[in-house]
C-alpha cells in the first residue's frame, strides 16, 4: 500500500523530537481522522536552521512529517511557505488515494510553525 520511500521515512523518521528554545512552534490536528502533528523551528537569518517534529498518526502521517522536515531544512522562510502538501506527497513517491489527506498535516504544521515565528517577530 505504501511506497518504499514512505516505509523508509516511517521506519527511520528524520528530525524527530522537540526544540526546547524553538523560535516557532506549530501544531495542527487533522479534522478528517483526528491525528495531531507538532513542528518546532529554529530560524536564523530567515533560514530554517533546525526543525523537529512530533506526530500522533498513521504511517503516512509520520512519513510526511519526516519528509517535510527534510524538505524544509535549510530553506528560507519564503521557500518553506511555498512547500505544498502535494509536493510532500510527491517527494514520497505518492500516497494511496485514501491517505492523501494525511499529507495536509505536514505542510500545514510547517506553515503554522512559521506563522508562530512571524507572530513573535512582529511583537
Amino acid at each position: 500500500m505504501y511506497t518504499e520511500k514512505v516505509m523508509d521515512h516511517f521506519e527511520n523518521p528524520r528530525n524527530v523530537g522537540e526544540i526546547p528554545d524553538a523560535d516557532g512552534v506549530g501544531q495542527v490536528g487533522n479534522p478528517t481522522c483526528g491525528d495531531i502533528m507538532k513542528i518546532y523551528l529554529k530560524i536564523d537569518d530567515g533560514i530554517i536552521k533546525d526543525i523537529k517534529f512530533k506526530t500522533f498518526g498513521c504511517g503516512a502521517a509520520i512519513a510526511t512529517s519526516s519528509m517535510v522536515t527534510e524538505m524544509a531544512k535549510g530553506k528560507t522562510i519564503a521557500e518553506a511557505l511555498q512547500l505544498s502538501n502535494k509536493a510532500v506527497a510527491e517527494a514520497l513517491g505518492g500516497l494511496p488515494p485514501k491517505k492523501m489527506h494525511c499529507s495536509n498535516l505536514a505542510a500545514d504544521a510547517l506553515h503554522a510553525a512559521i506563522q508562530d515565528y512571524q507572530n513573535k517577530q512582529n511583537k
Partner: protein, 387 residues
C-alpha cells in the same frame, strides 16, 4: 523472519482437510447440482451432506440451512427477508450499536424505507443490557438482531436471555454467530434464535461462502435475489459447490474440536493479556474482562495510533488489526469502540489480537519481545506522551 498471524477475526487459513475436500469438487466432481444426470447427482449428494454437517454443528435440521456467499449476505438476507415479509405486522426493528456493518447498515437502510429502528447502546464492556432491550420492545417490533460475539472486542452477548424475551412476544430473533462459531458453543435451540448467520472463512473454511439458519416456521422469504429455483427458492444462483463442501467440512471440524480448541486459545489469550497489562504502561483492555471469546485480546494503547503500530508490528512479522480511524475506510474510529464510550483519541490507539489454532506460547513470547520497543519508539515520537 518469523511470521506470526494474530488476525483470526479478520480471516483464517483453510484447514488442509478442508482444502483437500474442496479440491475434488473443482475438477473431478464438477456437475451442476441442479442437473438430473450422473454429474449433477454426485454433486447434489455432496451438497446435501455438507448441509447436514452445518446443521449438526449448530443443532439445526438440514432443511433449515441455506447456503449463501458469506456472512454479509446471510445478515442482509435474514434482516431484509424478515422485514419485508412481516411489515404488515409491524415496522419496528431493534439492533445494537456494536453490530457488524452487514447488520447495522442493513437495519439503517430499512430505517430510510419506512421502518422504525432502535439501536441499543452498550456499556463500557460492549455489552447490551437486558433492561434496555425490554424497554425498547413495542407492539410494533418484528425483529431483533444482536450479534453473538463481537469481532472487534470479543464480548459475548446474553443471547439466550434476549431471545427468550423476543420469543415470548412473538418477535423474530436473528444473531450473527460469525465470530462465535468454533470458539464457544453455538446451538440454535439453546440460544433460542430464529435466524443465525455463519461464515466460512472465520472457521478455517473458504472465503465467499456462508450459511443462514432459518428456523422452520419462521415468516421469512428471500427478498434480495431473483433467479433460478436453487436452495428451495431461498437463494437463487448456481451453488458455490466447492465452497459449500468446504463450509460443511469446516463446521464439522469446528464442532468436533471446540472444547480442545477453546481451552488452548483461552490459555494463550490469558497469558497475552496478562503480559501486555503487566509489561506495557498506559494500556487498557477493551471488551468484557470475562465474557469474551477465548481467542480475543483487544487493547487501546494511549498516546499512539493503531496503524503505525500495525506497520511496525508487520515489519517484525506480526499481523494484527486495529479499529483506529487511520485504518478504517471511513476515517472514523471503530463505531464499536465509540459506542463503548472510549474517546476518539484512545480509540485511535486500538489493537486487536485474535488467536488461532496454530498459535503457540512462543508466538506470544515473540510478540512480547517486539511490542514494548515499538510502543516506546512511537510514544517518543508522539506529541501526546508528556512524560
Amino acid at each position: 523472519m518469523r511470521r506470526v498471524y494474530f488476525d483470526h477475526s479478520a480471516t483464517t487459513p483453510v484447514r488442509p482437510e478442508v482444502a483437500e475436500e474442496m479440491q475434488k469438487y473443482l475438477t473431478e466432481y464438477f456437475g451442476n447440482p441442479t442437473s438430473l444426470h450422473y454429474f449433477g447427482r454426485q454433486v447434489r449428494k455432496a451438497v446435501e451432506e455438507a448441509r447436514e454437517k452445518v446443521a449438526n454443528a449448530i443443532g439445526a435440521r438440514p432443511e433449515e440451512v441455506v447456503f449463501t456467499s458469506g456472512g454479509t449476505e446471510s445478515d442482509n438476507m435474514a434482516i431484509h427477508g424478515i422485514a419485508m415479509i412481516n411489515k404488515n405486522r409491524g415496522n419496528h426493528i431493534i439492533t445494537s450499536a456494536v453490530e457488524h456493518h452487514a447488520v447495522l447498515n442493513t437495519v439503517k437502510a430499512l430505517g430510510k424505507q419506512g421502518f422504525t429502528v432502535t439501536i441499543l447502546p452498550v456499556d463500557k464492556y460492549g455489552m447490551v443490557s437486558l433492561d434496555d432491550l425490554a424497554n425498547a420492545i413495542t407492539d410494533k417490533t418484528i425483529l431483533i438482531s444482536i450479534m453473538h460475539a463481537s469481532n472487534e472486542v470479543g464480548t459475548i452477548q446474553p443471547i439466550k436471555d434476549m431471545a427468550a424475551m423476543a420469543r415470548e412476544k412473538g418477535i423474530f430473533f436473528h444473531t450473527d454467530a460469525v465470530q462465535s462459531m468454533g470458539k464457544i458453543p453455538v446451538n440454535v435451540d439453546e440460544l433460542g434464535v430464529d435466524l443465525l448467520t455463519v461464515s466460512g472463512h472465520k472457521i478455517y473454511g473458504p472465503k465467499g461462502v456462508g450459511a443462514l439458519y432459518i428456523r422452520k416456521g419462521t415468516r421469512w422469504r428471500q427478498t434480495l435475489f431473483h433467479g433460478g429455483a436453487q436452495e428451495r427458492l431461498r437463494r437463487a444462483g448456481t451453488e458455490n459447490v466447492p465452497g459449500i463442501i468446504g463450509l460443511g467440512k469446516a463446521c464439522e471440524l469446528a464442532a468436533r474440536d471446540l472444547e480442545k480448541e477453546a481451552a488452548h486459545l483461552a490459555g494463550l489469550r490469558d497469558k497475552l493479556i496478562k503480559e501486555v497489562m503487566d509489561k506495557i504502561p498506559h494500556v487498557q483492555l477493551t471488551g468484557h474482562p470475562t465474557m469474551r471469546l477465548p481467542n480475543h485480546a483487544s487493547f487501546c494503547f494511549e498516546f499512539i495510533e493503531g496503524e503505525s503500530m500495525l506497520l511496525s508490528m508487520d515489519m517484525k512479522g506480526v499481523a494484527a488489526s486495529s479499529g483506529s480511524a487511520c485504518t478504517s475506510g471511513s476515517l472514523e474510529p471503530s463505531h464499536v469502540l465509540l459506542a463503548m464510550g472510549i474517546p476518539h483519541e484512545l480509540a485511535h490507539g486500538s489493537i486487536r489480537i485474535t488467536l488461532g489454532r496454530d498459535n503457540t506460547e512462543e508466538d506470544i513470547d515473540y510478540f512480547m519481545e517486539i511490542m514494548p520497543p515499538i510502543v516506546e519508539r512511537l510514544r517518543a515520537m508522539s506529541p501526546l506522551d508528556q512524560e
